[in-house]
Symmetry: C2
């Protein structure tokens, strides 16, 4: 095995310099309340650099009780581009604050050992509701900062903030002159919470505009569901469809074209999230784009405040939703 070259520790740096290990630690951590001469500080830094010292994060975590890890629990539905894009921003912001973002997708099977137990993150923040069992498991692992808090576990996904886009879709279609509008909701159970929220937003907008009841139909990836919904809509004289996301919009549009309808002539369609897919279709798909960067900042802020045991920000983030018009709604 040839003594698998051991990694350099703070003790190595100290020994090689003839100072104590504590001194090395104080210098490298810039520990407040310690007075170290500039000369020593310089020597320590130089030697650490020379030896290629890397602090052993595991040992740091054990000693300090903080792992500097923020764990973001993602839904296992395909959020693809749309909501996932904010991760990069969140990761960067947290990084600047000294925290690392680790994402985790809980897939059904039930892990032998859940990842939070392994990583002991300082903060767990979840997109999807956290089950009581999961919460208990986290508590037992010593995780105290869990977002969202118990009572609000479903709050964010159902929050009005995330409905702004849905309202906008209806406003936009109304503006184009459509008076009978259908809504393609998600038939996927995993998306139920989010979908319900958006439906509520769309309904609200429709009511405000005096459009009467919105014709909401579930669409999923299974073959006939879009075609079936379409028949209903046509019977009701619907001339425009707002969809839960771009995927459902694409499926609805395909069903319409396959049925011999013209898009947007006979049926206008608008998606949600402005994924790359929208631009790949023919006709290209109008959509609603969302401020993913802002969302990333919001999540990072949420996590950082929790890590510092500060109260959460009162106000939800502004999504800055805006319509991206393409061929599927305008000629």
């Amino acid at each position: 095995m040839s003594e698998r070259t051991r990694r350099v520790t703070a003790a190595d740096v100290a020994r090689s310099l003839g100072v104590s290990r504590a001194t090395v630690g104080y210098v490298l951590n810039n520990t407040p309340g310690q007075t170290i001469s500039a000369a020593t500080r310089e020597r320590v830094l130089a030697e650490a650099e020379r030896l290629g010292y890397r602090p052993h994060r595991t040992a740091q975590a054990l000693a300090s009780g903080r792992s500097m890890i923020v764990m973001l629990l993602l839904p296992d539905w395909p959020m693809e581009y749309s909501l996932r894009q904010h991760l990069e921003t969140a990761s960067r912001v947290l990084d600047e604050a000294g925290y690392s973002l680790v994402t985790h997708t809980r897939h059904g099977g039930g892990h032998a050992r859940p990842l939070w137990e392994l990583l002991s993150p300082d903060v767990v923040i979840a997109w999807t509701p956290i089950t009581a069992a999961e919460r208990a498991s986290m508590k037992a692992s010593g995780i105290t900062r869990i977002l969202p808090p118990p009572r609000q576990s479903r709050s964010f996904l159902a929050s009005p903030t995330l409905n702004a886009g849905a309202r906008l879709q209806i406003d936009y279609l109304h503006e184009l002159g459509h008076r009978r509008i259908g809504y393609a909701a998600s038939g996927d159970k995993r998306l139920a919470l989010l979908s319900r929220g958006r439906v509520a937003g769309a309904r609200e907008a429709a009511e405000r505009l005096g459009l009467g009841l919105l014709d909401v139909r579930p669409v999923d990836h299974r073959g006939g569901s879009a075609a079936k919904a379409l028949r209903h809509w046509r019977q009701e004289g619907v001339t425009a469809i707002a969809a839960f996301n771009d995927n459902l919009a694409a499926m609805t549009m395909a069903a319409a074209l396959r049925a011999g309808l013209a898009v947007p002539g006979d049926l206008a369609v608008i998606g949600h999230d402005d994924t790359p897919l929208a631009g790949m279709l023919y006709p290209s798909l109008s959509s609603v784009s969302i401020d993913n960067v802002g969302l990333g900042h919001y999540f990072a802020d949420l996590a950082l405040r929790a890590a510092r045991d500060e109260p959460p920000p009162e106000k939800a983030p502004d999504l800055h939703a805006r319509v991206v018009p393409r061929e599927s709604t305008i000629r």
Copy 2:
């Protein structure tokens, strides 16, 4: 703060039972070479259960030198569905072996502290080539098992295994009677390695079939690129397009339809990866499906062997690529 309820440690279990901490450890870890009476074993297990003991993974990692973490470095291109689906399988297989899979996407910015330093995984395994700097950083963090090894850093992405699908595309189009076939390669630099491999596979198949040189054109997400490629192909009398992936296929198809061509009448199109997108289009997109489960097993196996310091498997995995025919190639 009310003494933020401390987590239960092995010492708590030992104390409450009047046995030593080592005994608790031996029982819970089933340490070989230790003889513990059935009665004591039972008592320890019961008490650990009763107190809700969870081993402190961080401390375990520090003491044992193994984190039981496998870190998979993902490319930052949108592999979304296609190649990413294998993750679930890999995660499950590793989980059964006691390892946890943590995925990490290195986005350009350059982390202040790279994630591998934070987690000290037992194995790092990368889809994309690992830079020399990254490799050095890993070594300095004490990570010795890095896949792929230095010299082969580009091997997997360029391996013939991953080209099986491209060969199949050409075979299939040839079978349908097409003799002038175009290939839509990826214009994305991040995909260059993979794309080049597939182009090579497609070329090989074309040559074998006596089709002469394949007409390869880059397509990317930018507006005009598909239309431009299409004009070239039409001039050359191309009647069918094999695309690097479903996205490029969709864009090519949209460009064709927009130009007034019939698909598949004037131009047949086949994608690669069989993403959900394929079924959402009109005409629906023929594609090549890949055995993601098998790929997941392969990655897990690769990681596990490395973790145990065993030699890697000699043979690459069989992708079991197969054509999924849809409307874009057959009427």
